[in-house]
């Protein structure tokens, strides 16, 4: 198991205002697998990802990555194992840092030598030439920025890549490019992917297996083959499936709230 999560709980706020964002989630991801975590806003899918990544340290339960149990605070070595790509390529790059500096920083932090060669290699890896190396983010398109963000995640040569809605801020034509890139990188580097998204079609394109979340709970897990066949068991999943197939007046009538 690359990622093993047992009974994860995350609560925000205190006392009467507290909200349970993640409510006893248990799931595991095999090495080399591409796993989709699907849900609507407020379902807790991103919160799970932030707990795994170490960005959120206020959780209970058990999280193990690559066989090592993880506490709330991570060791430096963890970050060489597991990296993350964020949703909004406009917000995930420092506006005053050049691509060069963005990519050089992780190398410096972990004391890896050979920065120039590494940066060139990783830029080529994500399909950006050396011409992009000294540009500022504002000189890049959305798709190029997301490539830089992916390059930053890859520069430490991690085994796990956590993806938080990596294409939902992009146009569909750019989305296709990024999905293709992720598929290629996964194959070339033997990466384990965890993809958080609300878009079932993206999951179907990139993942092997998926879990559906609603209001902090895991509704059901299935393989992407089952998804493709529409073989979902839970009514919530079926509703989500119907809703992603385009507008239909009659179907819209049948929708209900799942709590």
């Amino acid at each position: 198991m690359m990622i093993d999560i047992q009974n994860l709980r995350v609560r925000f706020g205190q006392g009467a205002d507290a909200v349970t964002a993640v409510d006893g989630v248990t799931l595991s991801v095999r090495e080399g697998e591409s796993f989709g975590l699907v849900g609507e806003s407020g379902s807790g899918k991103s919160t799970v990802l932030r707990a795994v990544s170490g960005l959120n340290d206020d959780w209970t339960g058990r999280i193990a990555v690559a066989g090592t149990e993880q506490g709330p605070k991570r060791q430096k070595g963890f970050y060489k194992l597991c990296q993350m790509v964020f949703q909004d390529p406009y917000g995930s790059l420092h506006p005053r840092h050049t691509v060069d500096r963005i990519l050089a920083e992780p190398i410096a932090i972990h004391g890896l030598g050979d920065a120039d060669a590494r940066i060139d290699r990783v830029l080529r890896d994500v399909g950006l030439g050396p011409a992009f190396r000294f540009r500022y983010p504002h000189q890049l398109s959305g798709g190029q920025r997301q490539r830089v963000a992916i390059a930053r995640a890859l520069v430490l040569e991690p085994r796990v890549l956590l993806l938080d809605e990596p294409t939902s801020a992009l146009d569909v034509s750019v989305q296709a490019e990024i999905l293709n890139l992720l598929r290629r990188l996964r194959a070339e580097h033997g990466l384990t992917l965890v993809l958080v998204t609300h878009n079932l079609a993206v999951v179907a394109n990139l993942c092997d297996r998926l879990a559906v979340m609603n209001r902090g709970r895991l509704v059901e897990e299935m393989s992407v083959d089952e998804l493709r066949r529409g073989a979902a068991r839970e009514p919530y999943t079926l509703q989500l499936l119907r809703a992603s197939q385009g507008y239909d007046r009659a179907t819209a009538e049948s929708f209900r709230d799942y709590a």
Partner: protein, 286 residues
């Protein structure tokens, strides 16, 4: 209502060679470059990627292009009336009363320090001589019409106290209360979850057909537009590259449209590389 029925076969909106330009340091930059179409009492979808000029097209009809943008057109006529020649006063009459607009995110498009009820009532009172009590009664009716269960309670809520889906229903109620002829919906469901999105669209759909309104539905979501609208314009770099009936989108001719359709991942297709759109500079001219 009777005027409306009589004018049914005349086009509601005629747009010919619409251009929107913004001055930059190197000269004028055109966001919309010669868009033409006519609209009847139908649901017209305008689709395109970001920066294609689709939103700007919608806003220029209401003459709400932000300063210092310039709007020009050979013809921009609503019910036969030239919108570009209308005085600011006349334009204010047209806004809301005849043409309304719903925007993307109710979190930003509702005034945060006014109760939603007062915002709806205000929309009614600008265009009628109604008193406060009458306006409130109408606003409550309208809230019920967008299927809000407890209108009395929601009336006194502030925008931050309602969910995104409810906020967008409130927005629709506010825009439809003066009974306009044309509704411009600018990505009205992009900020919502899919299921809520469908419910909001159903409300829009019903209200439009009940009232015989025309609708311009601006969106980046090809599938959604194809399933919701009657007719589609596909925009690229400020121009309409193709227009077709929604039901015939799959048979689209233009390589850009075909490329966009192909690059969409599908649930029912096996995983694999998606065809990537390669842009032809010729499309800028066509």
């Amino acid at each position: 209502m009777t005027d409306r029925k009589m004018a049914d076969n005349a086009p509601l909106l005629e747009v010919s060679n619409l251009r929107v330009a913004f001055p930059t340091r190197t000269g004028m930059a055109e966001a919309v470059r010669g868009v033409s179409f006519t609209l009847g009492r139908e649901k017209l979808g305008i689709v395109g990627e970001s920066g294609s000029g689709k939103s700007m097209t919608g806003r220029s009809i209401l003459r709400l292009v932000p300063q210092p943008g310039r709007v020009t057109a050979d013809r921009l006529a609503f019910n036969g009336e030239d919108l570009l020649a209308a005085s600011p006063r006349r334009m204010r009459d047209i806004r809301g009363r005849r043409i309304a607009m719903v925007m993307q995110d109710p979190k930003y498009s509702l005034n945060p320090v006014m109760t939603v009820g007062r915002q709806i009532a205000e929309a009614y009172r600008v265009h009628s001589k109604a008193g406060a009590a009458e306006a409130k009664r109408r606003a409550l009716e309208m809230l019920a019409a967008v299927r809000i269960r407890d209108p009395e309670r929601v009336y006194d809520r502030y925008p931050h106290e309602v969910s995104g889906g409810m906020g967008q229903r409130i927005m629709i109620a506010m825009m439809l209360i003066p009974d306009p002829d044309l509704l411009i919906a600018d990505e009205p469901t992009s900020a919502l979850d899919v299921t809520v999105q469908m419910q909001v669209l159903a409300i829009l759909d019903d209200l439009c057909s009940q009232r015989g309104m025309g609708m311009i539905f601006v969106s980046h979501d090809l599938n959604l537009v194809a399933s919701f609208c009657d007719r589609i314009l596909i925009m690229y770099a400020g121009r309409v590259v193709e227009s077709c009936r929604a039901s015939e989108l799959h048979a689209a001719q233009h390589p850009y449209t075909r490329g966009l359709l192909a690059s969409l991942p599908r649930i029912d297709e096996p995983p694999g590389d998606l065809p990537v759109l390669s842009r032809d500079p010729m499309w800028l001219e066509a």
